[in-house]
Symmetry: C2
Subunit: 324 residues, 2 copies
């Protein structure tokens, strides 16, 4: 049986990343409160090191690699933000990193990953078996494969987002009624669930996914892991995981109240709203939860609601198009 | 003799705006530290209510208006962010507000000011005497003129930016070696100077202005208030004040180490940097101080440097052009 992380492991992760990852603030917006009738708090993970929450899990995972394993290094596969998180953590910890990235990943994410010092190997999202490729490279080098979400330490690391949310709200004597989390493989959601429910068991947690990539929403209803039909073709390039992870789903199915689904048009409007009203740069994958709130997927009137904005690594040309 | 505010008045302002204005975080950026060789902290006032620091001074000023004066209200003149700050504060305090705005002010600022419930009167920046117009309206209505910077309570209110900087750095046992502030009429700079020098008298404060609108830089050298030749035609629409204020200069000439000047090209590069590396939306006027840092106007190696980013109200079309 596989071991699942607990809120205590999130606490360990918080200590491992302290002073290296940023403690992002909790922001409020009168405009958002007015639109929703709720008391909304935003967790802006685009302000995290590397421009996305992924650094938290990556650093927590890589910090467990002993000195003797650093030259063999790590292998990771990712459309972008996990790649960048692993590359940045590897750079800080002196660990060699090789990253498999899909050919359709945004240029900005490939460039930033290379700039952080990682070696990049491209794969075709529809044709290549990325997992097999990663294990071949790992086998040749004795490297550790660092999966993007289905990993004990990755989940615990991402959970620090939830831990900070609960701690910061507690300073204002608040507990969240609902937390909305953008969901790809479910690692961030699982980590947040562990941390939030340890302190606030009545908080309702929701996954938010783009249409046609709603594997979590359907899996929660079915009670088992279901896959998406499509593997590519969404504006939300970071939310394309084919199905919920094994570990992440084992946690999420116990904790999550439901799965919300947003359209591409709603994601676009959320990005423009964040530009105009919040002055934050959010990438499509990072705007799904905000899109769900703005599109009134949930009745949150008079509630304390937290929306996690997961990242801001978006190509300037695309962003320009989305805000105009 | 006119009375000048002190750091105690900044403390009063902090209490007046507490729970209404946001306490913006101090952010760090490894990318910025790498580029400059300094330990850089950013004060992101685009995250302030209304998208700019101006709400602080406006709310502090308007909160001093007695109930009997609320229906006569206030009159303000501004290219945008002061307008929006006054309109928002007036709305919250139940004060009537009329705002004189130049015809060339960004559409986004005019729209947001109107949306906050203020009446807008347009004037021509080159032809009309805005001060006379404001006093005519004020005279007719018995309204109070709220100047954008040359006012005791406005300066004290803007000073809360400096107070928060010093308090937040003190938590990490740091004091700033240098603080760079975008400078129009000098109200923010003066307020920050009062607050910072009360706690850290050795900190060097710098004004940052765009080329051709460098009235502060030249006035500091001359030891007296000098005017700009031009009154319009800069990308930095919020930094066009014709000369330093009387009150603000009386403070700034005692506190400021020098005036820095940046080109329009440098401001554009700073906006693109903030988009790419900081994931923040900064308007041209709000990016001048960051531009000075990135363009190495100052030798800050190994120093603790604070850059105040003053606002993020920029038209989407212009922003799109600047980041691509």
């Amino acid at each position: 049986m596989v071991s699942l992380p607990t809120s205590a492991d999130v606490g360990d992760a918080a200590r491992a990343i302290a002073g290296v990852a940023f403690r992002t603030p909790l922001l409020t917006s009168p405009a958002l409160d007015a639109v929703t009738g709720a008391r909304v708090f935003l967790k802006p993970e685009m302000l995290q090191r590397g421009g996305a929450f992924k650094f938290r899990g990556a650093y927590n995972r890589l910090s467990r690699i002993p000195d003797s394993g650093k030259s063999a290094g790590v292998v990771a596969m990712s459309s972008g933000n996990h790649a960048l998180g692993v590359a940045t953590a590897a750079n800080l910890l002196g660990v060699r990193a090789t990253i498999l990235m899909p050919t359709d990943s945004p240029a900005v994410k490939r460039e930033r990953t290379a700039a952080a010092g990682a070696e990049i190997v491209l794969f075709d999202r529809d044709k290549d078996d990325r997992v097999a490729m990663a294990h071949v490279i790992a086998g040749e080098r004795g490297a550790v494969v660092v999966p993007p979400y289905d990993d004990f330490f990755i989940i615990a690391g991402q959970g620090t987002v939830g831990r900070e949310i609960v701690e910061d709200l507690a300073k204002s004597k608040l507990t969240p009624d609902a937390v909305l989390v953008c969901c790809g493989g479910g690692g961030l959601l699982a980590g947040i669930a562990l941390a939030v429910h340890a302190q606030a068991p009545s908080t309702k947690l929701y996954s938010v996914e783009p249409e046609e990539f709603d594997d979590h929403a359907r899996s929660f209803v079915a009670g088992e892991r279901l896959a998406n039909r499509k593997t590519s073709g969404s504006l939300c390039d970071g939310l394309l995981a084919q199905m919920p992870g094994e570990l992440t789903f084992a946690i999420n199915k116990q904790h999550v109240a439901g799965g919300l689904v947003v359209s591409e048009e709603e994601v676009k409007r959320a990005i423009a709203f964040a530009f105009r009203e919040l002055k934050l740069v959010v990438e499509p994958s990072g705007a799904a939860a905000l899109a769900a709130l703005l599109s009134k997927r949930l009745d949150v009137r008079d509630q304390t609601v937290v929306v996690v904005m997961t990242g801001g690594n978006v190509d300037p040309g695309l962003f320009a198009e989305l805000i105009c």
